[in-house]
């Protein structure tokens, strides 16, 4: 039993910060950079677009009338180029091998770890391990796995303070039932999540990516769902195809 305690001890101590930033595609290229800390050069075309676009407008309205046709042509072209430059960083995000956004941890609140008490030891260990590695290996900040109505919750959640573990467990259970997540039949991925009117208010503030993976049972019976796995991140587009494949592999463990 000594080995299982080792896993549990590590899971409690390690925070998601221990995840290193070497998570993206392995690219052996030299990247042009100004090296200014806190300045993302991929947004440079956007700032130039805004700047030069406004200068064009300024130039247009400050010029003495009449404005020649050839200048109008230049300005039309310039403004379209400005619009295109502004759009470039957005387009660049979807190219293969583009830099992934980093997650930011919420300033307030603490990490929670809640697990149903009435489940077997081996399932408990698997759940504790799976939630831990999802936090470590993806840019997840909040993870919830539900297997046949039993829960394992870990990470930063928008949950009330000053609750005992048992109360918190019941609170999560109630919330999850309200949303009806146990009914989800196919994977849901929101790479640009921006809040929702529904009971998804349990997600931490600033959640920008949300991925829900149902645990579809291995039986011939179609659409028999054993539970679900939910991960959320404060980074937009946090889950690449590869990440989703690995999250799916984690979910396989609990399909039943």
């Amino acid at each position: 039993a000594q080995r299982s305690t080792r896993i549990f001890a590590r899971t409690e101590n390690d925070s998601p910060q221990s995840k290193t930033s070497d998570q993206q595609l392995n690219l052996s290229v030299l990247r042009f950079t100004f090296g200014i800390p806190g300045f993302d050069e991929s947004y440079l075309p956007r700032w130039i677009g805004y700047g030069f676009g406004s200068l064009l407008l300024l130039n247009h309205f400050s010029a003495s009338a009449p404005i020649s046709e050839s200048q109008m042509r230049s300005e039309a072209l310039g403004l379209s180029l400005a619009a295109f430059s502004i759009a470039l960083p957005y387009i660049g995000k979807f190219l293969k091998g583009s830099v992934v956004e980093q997650r930011s941890l919420p300033e307030e609140g603490e990490q929670v770890f809640v697990i149903s008490s009435n489940i077997g030891d081996s399932l408990k260990e698997d759940l504790a391990w799976a939630t831990y590695v999802l936090l470590r290996n993806t840019s997840t900040i909040a993870v919830l796995i539900s297997v046949q109505g039993e829960l394992c919750v870990r990470g930063y959640w928008n949950c009330p303070d000053q609750m005992s573990k048992a109360q918190l467990h019941d609170w999560f259970k109630k919330k999850v039932d309200e949303i009806g997540l146990a009914d989800v039949k196919e994977t849901l991925y929101f790479p640009q999540y921006a809040g929702s009117a529904l009971s998804l208010d349990i997600l931490p503030d600033g959640t920008r990516s949300l991925f829900v993976q149902p645990l579809v049972q291995n039986t011939n019976e179609p659409q028999k769902v054993n539970g679900f796995l939910l991960v959320a991140s404060t980074a937009g587009y946090a889950y690449s195809d590869k990440d989703r494949a690995w999250i799916g592999a984690m979910a396989e463990k609990f399909r039943g």
Binding site: R3, Q23, V29, L30, R31, F32, L44, P45, I48, F52, G53, L55, L56, N59, H60, A63, S64, E69, S70, Q71, S74, E75, L77, G78, L81, A82, F84, S85, L88, I91, F94, L95, K96, G97, N118, E125, V133, N137, T138, A166, H169, D170, E178, I179, G180, D183, V184, L188, Y189, F190, P191, S196, S199, K242, D243, A245, W246, G248, A249, M250
Partner: protein, 264 residues
């Protein structure tokens, strides 16, 4: 304490993901989109010059006329586009085509293992197969080859599958090196690696190998079909799975050792 889940689960009425047409288009036409800013920037550059020529403006730009100022700004934007396109082209990930492993499909699982352990090993294999370029997996623990699955080399003489010789592997420098360093070892381009003769059970054209120690008692040999095919995120996941397998296997083998000691 709280097992009152007998009621039917509520139907899900939360948000549904919408299709992002832009994202779909870009990921399908990566090469086209990558060079698009170069074409747009280049064409605009020529268009500005052409516009000046046909409108009979002097080729010398001076900041005193509003026409020249507009042209200069348009040129600046065109160059911005051009440079962005060049940056995009320079960071294009090299796509290396996977090879077809030369070997035969094989599945050998140690028969003495309890069912839960077998299902965990098979789960690890399925995960690797789905999420990475892994085509062969061998797990040796406590001196026993627990599983050899996926593509396996065929010996040229008698056309039989090459089964892992545990003793030979464990005496080899590859195994001992990994055990000594206690860290994952990634042979991103196997053909450059002299120690590959110690892994004769992998298909001859295996391109990349990860050697993942399982605690101090075992090793997982993971063969892939693409040079540098395992990403750093794959490596992190494989370490995690290695720790998990070590925890599960370690507990089983400690218990079974104790039992055998008691019975002896």
């Amino acid at each position: 304490s709280s097992s009152s889940t007998s009621q039917k689960p509520k139907t899900y009425e939360g948000p549904k993901p919408r299709k992002n047409l832009v994202a779909d288009f870009i990921s399908k036409n990566d090469d086209l989109v990558r060079s698009l800013p170069i074409y747009v920037g280049g064409a605009s550059l020529l268009a500005v010059l052409f516009n000046r020529t046909v409108s009979g403006i002097a080729p010398v730009a001076d900041a005193s006329s509003s026409q020249s100022r507009a042209d200069l700004l348009a040129l600046g934007l065109a160059v911005t586009n051009l440079l962005t396109g060049l940056v995009w082209l320079s960071i294009r990930p090299k796509s290396i085509t996977p090879v077809n492993p030369k070997g035969v499909e094989c599945k050998v699982v140690e028969s003495d293992l309890p069912a839960s352990m077998v299902s965990e090993l098979l789960w690890a294999w399925e995960s690797l197969k789905v999420a990475t370029c892994c085509k062969s997996l061998v797990i040796v623990y406590n001196g026993i080859c627990l599983i050899q699955i996926g593509m396996v080399a065929e010996s040229p003489e008698d056309k039989k599958t090459v089964i892992v010789k545990t003793d030979k592997l464990m005496q080899g420098s590859v195994y001992r090196g990994v055990m000594k360093s206690k860290a994952q070892s990634y042979l991103a381009n196997l053909s450059l690696y002299p120690g590959r003769s110690e892994l004769p059970f992998l298909p001859a054209n295996t391109q990349a190998v990860i050697l993942q120690p399982l605690g101090d008692k075992g090793i997982a040999v993971i063969g892939g079909n693409t040079i540098r095919g395992f990403t750093s995120s794959d490596q992190a996941w494989i370490s995690s799975i290695g720790e998990k397998l070590d925890a599960t296997l370690g507990r089983y083998f400690v218990d079974s050792d104790e039992i055998s000691r008691v019975t002896v």
